[in-house]
């Protein structure tokens, strides 16, 4: 029965999500071919699954190119396709943190990294398309075009930010940069705003599409501000009196506070989680 199998699959999937189990057992579905079983096992890892999903638009683009199906203006279609998918994955990257807060789902970092790198991947295709496909790497024309085309400037800024974030994305980069890593990666907000600007500035007047993505990014920003304010309020609750300048023995006041009130333990726990989510 397909319904029963679907239910069983969902159960399995839930188990994976709850980390009770790391992979779906192919035998559950009566798959006996070792190659297919290996593939199902590999795909049943959520991260691997997301990796495949994130490469699907690229695969689709490749198929369109192979079949010469990009429409009346293929080069423009290439630009629009890679640009819009980079922006979409940028939105998804920004969606991960609010999602974590709402669902209390731990272990989102690898997914955020995957989505961010995918956004960079499409942005890189976009830039390569501009330099190589559209301008055949003729640098004098490219130079003049860059000077005379203001809508390219925020696009270039967004790409350079994504490039830096992608380069510093591996574990080694995180270790090397220490505290600065987080500061650097906050620039993703600037990249998001810049790419919307890049989108708006090239249109002749109908701004519905970029405004849609702008709205999404705006909502994601707003959710972060809400989280930030909540964090601050929780922190304030923990502090018995307003701190004055020079009152810098933080640890001591923290200690007094924790010993002083029973509810504080709960509050500090909440703060801990919220901080880890920001």
């Amino acid at each position: 029965m397909p319904i029963q199998e679907t239910l069983r699959f969902l159960n399995e999937f839930q188990a994976v999500l709850r980390k009770k189990q790391t992979q779906i057992d192919p035998l559950t579905f009566g798959i006996t071919s070792p190659a297919i079983a290996a593939m199902v096992t590999w795909l049943s890892n959520l991260w691997n699954f997301c990796l495949v999903l994130s490469l699907l638009p690229g695969l689709y683009l490749w198929v369109l190119i192979q079949f010469d199906a990009l429409g009346p203006n293929p080069v423009e279609a290439f630009h629009l396709f890679t640009g819009i998918w980079s922006l979409r994955f940028l939105c998804l990257t920004l969606l991960i943190t609010p999602l974590q807060v709402v669902t209390s789902w731990r272990g989102v970092a690898p997914f955020r990294q995957l989505l961010g790198l995918t956004s960079f991947f499409y942005a890189a295709l976009h830039v390569w398309g501009y330099l190589s496909i559209d301008h055949a790497l003729i640098w004098t024309t490219i130079g003049q075009d860059l000077l005379e085309t203001p809508y390219l400037w925020p696009g270039l800024l967004a790409f350079l930010i994504l490039l830096l974030l992608a380069l510093s994305s591996p574990k080694q980069g995180k270790k090397l940069l220490g505290k600065n890593w987080k500061k650097l990666h906050r620039w993703i907000y600037v990249a998001a705003v810049a790419s919307i600007l890049h989108y708006v500035m090239q249109l002749k007047g109908n701004l519905a599409d970029p405004l849609f993505y702008g709205l999404i990014i705006g909502l994601l920003f707003a959710s972060r501000i809400v989280i930030w304010i909540r964090n601050r309020q929780v922190t304030r609750l923990m502090i018995p009196r307003p701190r004055r300048l020079g009152d810098d023995d933080e640890e001591a006041s923290g200690l007094t506070h924790r010993q002083g009130r029973g509810s504080a333990a709960g509050a500090s726990k909440t703060t801990g989680i919220l901080n880890s989510r920001s």
Binding site: I138, T141, N206
Partner: protein
């Protein structure tokens, strides 16, 4: 006294015209050659009409018909270039009446059939350059606007020609919702531009009647200007003593000038105009360099001698 009154006003020659008589004759000669240019139907075969003087050089490759008819800026219907091909079918182009009014001695009101019967259409292969940075090579059929205007006989006080598109909010979604532009779409030309032999009132494309999405049943084609000047679905032509208000110029005067001559040296405020992307060009072809007056400089540059093209863009 009586003799003077009976002399039609438009018969009085403007001194500027007889001063430039030689130039006008030259232009008319060019028009005759252009009319004789063979129409090339094949998109692959280069035009054999090559002649430096006409600027229809042999490298002109006619854009594939599918690209031309499925990549249309027709904002009355949609802001998406692929949609007018489907949506514009709603526009009924028969019956259609064109009105020629204003400062003319013989105001005209005629159907498209009358127009075609009265003025013999010619075939012209023209480059087309959009202000957005894409271009095409299109095999038009149409009547020189000059012939129509001279039949209406503009008065000597006339300096400009204004064109108005159809207003049909029931058929045109963005007119109904009053989106973006001040409808109906309006364009304009200086009288000498309108009388130029290259300026065409198109009735056909690729040897067929004009498709709805390309501006049926009548559209303007001014090949040395950005595409937005080439107004579609014209219902009225008005001869005026002063410069008319035009749609895109009203919408964003610093971005879309009244002249809108193709000029690689004058960038749009937000993008370069130095190069262009021909429609249907593959991923292996780089952009093309844009030419001053879209390559028609040897025929139209004189219209603008002494004009600061950066200021009057």
């Amino acid at each position: 006294m009586k003799l003077f009154q009976s002399l039609p006003e438009n018969r009085v020659t403007d001194p500027k015209v007889w001063e430039d008589r030689r130039r006008l004759l030259q232009l008319m000669g060019t028009g005759a050659v252009l009319t004789a240019a063979p129409f090339v139907a094949s998109e692959e075969r280069p035009s054999s009409a090559g002649s430096g003087r006409m600027n229809l050089d042999s490298s002109l490759r006619v854009t594939p018909e599918f690209a031309t008819t499925h990549y249309n800026n027709y904002y009355e219907f949609s802001f998406d270039k692929s949609e007018p091909a489907e949506l514009a079918r709603a526009l009924k182009t028969e019956p259609w009446t064109l009105e020629v009014t204003g400062q003319v001695e013989h105001p005209l009101k005629l159907s498209v059939d009358d127009l075609i019967k009265r003025f013999s259409p010619t075939e012209r292969i023209y480059r087309f350059r959009c202000v957005e940075g894409w271009s095409a090579v299109l095999p038009w059929r149409g009547i020189p606007l000059r012939d129509l205007l001279l039949a209406a006989a503009p008065l000597s006080s006339s300096r400009f020609v204004a064109f108005t598109s159809i207003m049909a909010p029931e058929l045109m979604p963005n007119q109904k919702s009053r989106k973006l532009l001040d409808w109906p779409y309006r364009e304009g030309l200086r009288m000498d531009e309108a009388l130029h032999p290259l300026t065409l009132l198109a009735t056909g494309l690729y040897g067929k009647p004009l498709p709805a999405q390309n501006g049926a049943p009548l559209r303007l084609v001014v090949p040395w200007k950005y595409g937005f000047k080439s107004i579609k679905a014209i219902v009225r032509i008005e001869v005026l003593p002063q410069q008319p208000l035009t749609t895109w110029n009203q919408q964003a005067p610093d971005e879309y000038g009244f002249y809108a001559n193709v000029n690689p040296a004058v960038p749009h405020p937000r993008w370069s105009q130095a190069t262009e992307r021909p429609l249907a060009s593959s991923l292996h072809e780089p952009r093309m360099k844009t030419q001053l007056f879209n390559g028609y400089g040897d025929q139209v540059a004189e219209l603008y001698s002494g004009l600061d093209l950066k200021r009057y863009f």
